[in-house]
């Protein structure tokens, strides 16, 4: 049963077709890799799913429900969390507070009861803090809880983004290039982490990533975009041998993934 269905999704920026009738499914409990050369439309697709971009055509269903009519702030509560390719943290907030913002869509205290700090607001705040702290421990960020997000290394901030996205209890997690700037060892840890997020937390993962080794290693299925069109979809081993994919990446007959070995 697919948790996410993308059907004929089309996005134009001026005269450029950023996405051209892209269709694919993401099964519940799967890790799906979304790959393609720079400018293939991967982040545009993510932005459509989180409603930051509005497509010109097509349909997106999450859990059977169309989501393109919803505004961006409704998406998180639906159960779709995301991270950003170039980091989109709140620099003046601490690491813990950043993650606590992730819990926003699962809490409900309003402005007035916040100002009066009614008893249940205190309980909600404590639960929010507890949930965020638990995620910081899970992502090995506990020691940095009270550090402002500004000034931490890129790789650490990527983990803070993961923690923040998980804080909203997503059923589907959109991860945009988590391996960017990581070394070999850190990528191996990340692969384990992505599996743990799926296995122990039951979160379906849609992964945009340039690091072929990582994608091929963790994905149950890979979708390949090139110039806004889907050129291949299938098991990692099959996609790697697909001649269209090889051509798109290298323009020659070299084998995709060789760089990762």
């Amino acid at each position: 049963m697919p948790i996410l269905t993308v059907h004929n999704l089309t996005v134009r920026f001026g005269g450029i077709l950023a996405l051209d009738s892209v269709s694919f499914d993401v099964d519940e409990g799967a890790i799906v890799g979304l790959i393609g050369p720079n400018g293939a439309g991967k982040t545009t697709l993510f932005n459509c799913l989180s409603r930051l971009d509005t497509p010109d055509g097509g349909d997106v269903r999450f859990d059977g429900r169309p989501i393109l009519g919803l505004s961006a702030h409704r998406i998180a509560a639906l159960g779709i969390g995301r991270t950003f390719q170039n980091l989109a943290l709140f620099p003046t907030l601490t690491v813990l507070q950043n993650v606590m913002v992730g819990v926003h869509c699962r809490t409900g205290s309003d402005v007035l009861s916040n100002a009066l700090w009614l008893p249940w607001v205190g309980r909600e705040e404590a639960a929010t803090r507890e949930r965020a702290s638990e995620l910081l421990r899970f992502l090995d960020l506990g020691a940095l809880a009270d550090h402002p997000a500004a000034g931490l290394p890129f790789g650490t901030l990527k983990r803070v983004e993961l923690a923040r996205a998980l804080a909203s209890r997503p059923r589907l997690l959109l991860v945009d290039e988590p391996a960017g700037g990581l070394n070999h060892e850190e990528v191996a840890t990340l692969a384990k982490l992505l599996r743990a997020i799926r296995d122990s937390r039951g979160v379906t993962v849609l992964l945009v990533e340039h690091h072929m080794g990582l994608v091929m290693q963790v994905s149950d299925k890979v979708v390949v975009l090139d110039f806004g069109r889907k050129i291949a979809e299938g098991r990692p081993a099959d996609v790697q041998r697909n001649p269209d994919v090889i051509r798109a990446y290298l323009g020659t007959d070299a084998r995709v993934g060789a760089e990762a070995v």
């Binding site: 702030h73 709140f90 913002v101 926003h104 869509c105 402005v111 916040n114 100002a115 700090w117 909203s168």
Partner: protein, 323 residues
């Protein structure tokens, strides 16, 4: 650090205790100045919630100050409403007007919003003159100072000071609560990264309008208190310069800081007087020099610089003990 924070927690009650004995130590004129500081501090906290915490620049908060002041003045003048009731009503009127103004303001960012609010500040004195029946036109409205309750043995100035102090304490506690929880994080998240805030489920349109309303309500309550304290309202007191003064107050006091509102209020109340004492001929030139020196020495505002100095001291203390 933990020990240091314990000390920090003692500061607000100590400041409050000092605030309570002040009326018995100062002359009536000095006391009136401190009443004015309290009033400014409330207005500045309001503006700081909007500009410092939420990142929406307002050059027009003098307009909400005026709206609060006139709400109080008209209610007393036309309907003989007891002055105590006029203060919350002024706050609610400004909450509603601020919220409604905040909705179209959603389309404006940064300097464009600053210009739109600036237009509000420009228009208000003339609008006030236009509705002469209600506002008394350019003559304004003369009120009588609230009488202190019998049996307390306080002078009217002392009573007004305590009313202001009471309102200030309530509004500062409410503000601090608002800013430390879910709402406060959402307000700051919108300022820091509006797109990420939306992606985390923050309804930024709603929060920005609400923040505008809350901010206007604080400033309106301050305006209401000022009408009572001065016992007089007139349109030309609420000119553009007042709005700019508020902005100066929050920047000098410390953006996105609650205590900064108090420091900023002390600055905008007393520094112009000092400038006047130093040079009768060019007080604004002196004020300008004060401004530049403050920004140069304390680029993060008074509150920010004090905090920085405190954390450095705490660190030195720790390493000193360890060594």
């Amino acid at each position: 650090m933990r020990r240091g924070q314990g000390w920090l927690r003692a500061i607000p009650p100590a400041a409050l205790a000092l605030g309570c004995v002040l009326p018995f130590l100062l002359s009536n004129f000095r006391l009136f100045q401190f009443t004015q500081v309290g009033i400014y501090a409330i207005a500045l906290l309001g503006l700081n919630i909007l500009t410092g915490y939420n990142g929406q620049i307002s050059l027009g908060h003098g307009a909400f100050y005026a709206l609060g002041a006139y709400t109080t003045a008209i209610m007393i003048d036309k309907w003989n409403v007891p002055y105590g009731w006029t203060i919350p009503v002024a706050g609610l009127v400004c909450l509603a007007v601020g919220f409604l103004f905040g909705i179209p303001a959603l389309r404006l960012e940064g300097l464009y919003l600053a210009l739109a609010t600036f237009a509000l500040a420009l228009a208000v004195p003339q609008i006030l003159k236009y509705f002469e029946y209600w506002t008394g036109g350019s003559q304004g409205i003369v009120l009588s100072k609230p009488e202190p309750p019998l049996g307390l043995g306080l002078s009217p100035d002392q009573w007004l000071y305590f009313v202001t102090l009471g309102v200030l304490v309530v509004l500062f506690v409410l503000g601090a609560n608002l800013l430390r929880g879910r709402t406060g994080r959402a307000i700051v998240a919108i300022r820091d990264n509006p797109i990420a805030a939306q992606a985390m489920g923050v309804n930024s349109a709603l929060y920005k309008s609400l923040t505008f309303g809350v901010s206007a309500a604080y400033t309106g309550v301050a305006g209401a208190l000022s009408a009572l304290a001065i016992a007089f309202v007139a349109p030309d007191a609420f000119n553009v310069f007042l709005s700019i003064t508020f902005l100066v107050g929050i920047v000098i006091g410390g953006l996105a800081s609650i205590s900064g509102a108090i420091f900023g209020a002390l600055f905008i109340q007393f520094v112009p007087n000092w400038a006047q004492e130093i040079s009768k001929a060019a007080p604004w030139a002196m004020y300008g020099i004060f401004l530049i020196v403050f920004m140069y020495v304390m680029p993060r505002g008074i509150a920010g610089s004090l905090w920085l100095a405190w954390t450095r001291l705490a660190r030195v203390g720790r390493t000193g003990r360890a060594g």
